[in-house]
């Protein structure tokens, strides 16, 4: 599931510095994650992407939250409760704080990134659980490129891009920081396609994703994401291929959309 989560991230990852006209402040998207076993798709988990306003004494930020939780029937076999968050500027989706909390069976890992945009550095804190149950902290400051973003922010940033003026076959390179490492990802625009979704039949932008880390996503044109070809540009369907098989993500419900 950890791999699936990583894949989720790459499937949505697209770094843009454009103004945010697509992501609203009370949006909730719920997906069903399925895994293909011997040609049969099994629903494994529910993935939720939610946004909300967060107020501090100085500013109002946008909280981007992604959660993954296994369906109850799987909890006895492998229980997953993952939480990914990013606190960003509501207008440009510029990230300020990123948090990740992973609970997968007995495995626990937490990560926190605090951005310093002036110095192009990220202060990181990683927490892991020792065998005796106590937490082990590791602090590290990493230097990154100016446009490097965490996975959750890039996940939403894809929607700020203007696909309507993009030519078919155009590829864009992105830099994502994951597990305190910068990873290059390539997004290729494959054109428009109509898809039957929970919101009805929708024209969609079709994108292909590949990464420099070959152990994360496998195959060429096997990792595809469809975004609605409207002002919201919400992800409605995705297919992915990872070292242990392939699966898909399907939109189950959508509420609080901006347009």
């Amino acid at each position: 599931m950890h791999r699936i989560t990583i894949v989720l991230i790459f499937l949505f990852s697209f770094l843009m510095n454009a103004q945010n006209n697509a992501v609203g402040t009370n949006e909730k998207l719920v997906f069903t994650a399925s895994y293909n076993m011997s040609g049969i798709l099994n629903n494994l988990a529910e993935v939720t992407m939610e946004t909300s306003e967060v107020k501090t004494s100085k500013a109002t930020l946008l909280r981007l939250k992604c959660t993954a939780a296994t369906y109850s029937k799987w909890d006895h076999f492998f229980k997953i409760r993952d939480l990914y968050e990013s606190y960003v500027s509501p207008t440009t989706l510029k990230p300020y704080l990123y948090k990740r909390d992973i609970n997968e069976g007995s495995y626990f890992k937490a990560m926190k990134y605090t951005y310093n945009h002036k110095a192009n550095t990220i202060k990181t804190l990683q927490q892991k659980k020792k065998k005796d149950g106590t937490l082990w902290d590791e602090n590290k400051t990493i230097t990154v490129q100016s446009k490097t973003k965490d996975i959750v922010t890039t996940l939403y940033s894809i929607r700020t891009f203007d696909f309507s003026n993009m030519s078919v076959g155009k590829s864009t390179e992105l830099t994502i920081v994951f597990d305190r490492e910068e990873i290059k990802a390539h997004i290729t625009y494959l054109g428009k396609e109509s898809l039957a979704t929970v919101l009805g039949k929708k024209p969609c932008y079709k994108l292909s994703i590949s990464t420099s880390k070959s152990d994360v996503l496998k195959g060429t044109n096997s990792n595809i994401i469809w975004l609605t070809a409207d002002e919201n540009k919400i992800p409605v369907f995705a297919t992915f291929k990872i070292p242990v098989g392939n699966g898909e993500l399907k939109l189950k419900s959508a509420s609080g959309l901006r347009h």
């Binding site: 099994n42 529910e46 100085k58 909280r63 296994t70």
Partner: protein, 116 residues
């Protein structure tokens, strides 16, 4: 040759029964179909040689049990639910922790909406 198909049929039938009782019951159909094929071949070979068919009946019995149970679960299984209480608690806790963290950061900039 008959024994080989009987063993394959039994293994496939047992696997089908095991799969049918776990959440991966959808997968039970694959070994169940294989068990049926092996069972039919074993039955044909037994008829030809006049050997006992008792064990082959067990293959069919197990296969039918797994197929019926997997089909029942496919049709009548409860809707998929996610138990998120602990996740919700963590989300609230994490947000409060994040606000404290953000208060310490210099995030005033042209792109941030400053509260009046």
């Amino acid at each position: 040759m008959r024994k080989v198909f009987i063993i394959l049929g039994l293994l496939a039938a047992i696997l089908a029964v095991l799969l049918s009782v776990i959440p991966l019951f959808n997968l039970a159909f694959v070994p169940a179909v294989l068990a049926l094929i092996f069972g039919v071949i074993a039955l044909y070979l037994s008829n030809k040689s006049g050997a006992s068919k008792k064990i082959i009946h067990y293959i069919f019995l197990l296969t039918i049990i797994s197929l019926v149970y997997a089909t029942y679960k496919s049709i009548f299984s409860a809707p998929e639910v996610v138990i998120t209480e602990e996740l919700k608690e963590k989300e609230i806790e994490s947000e409060q922790d994040a606000i404290d963290e953000l208060e310490e950061l210099d995030i005033e900039g042209e792109d941030i909406i400053i509260d009046e």
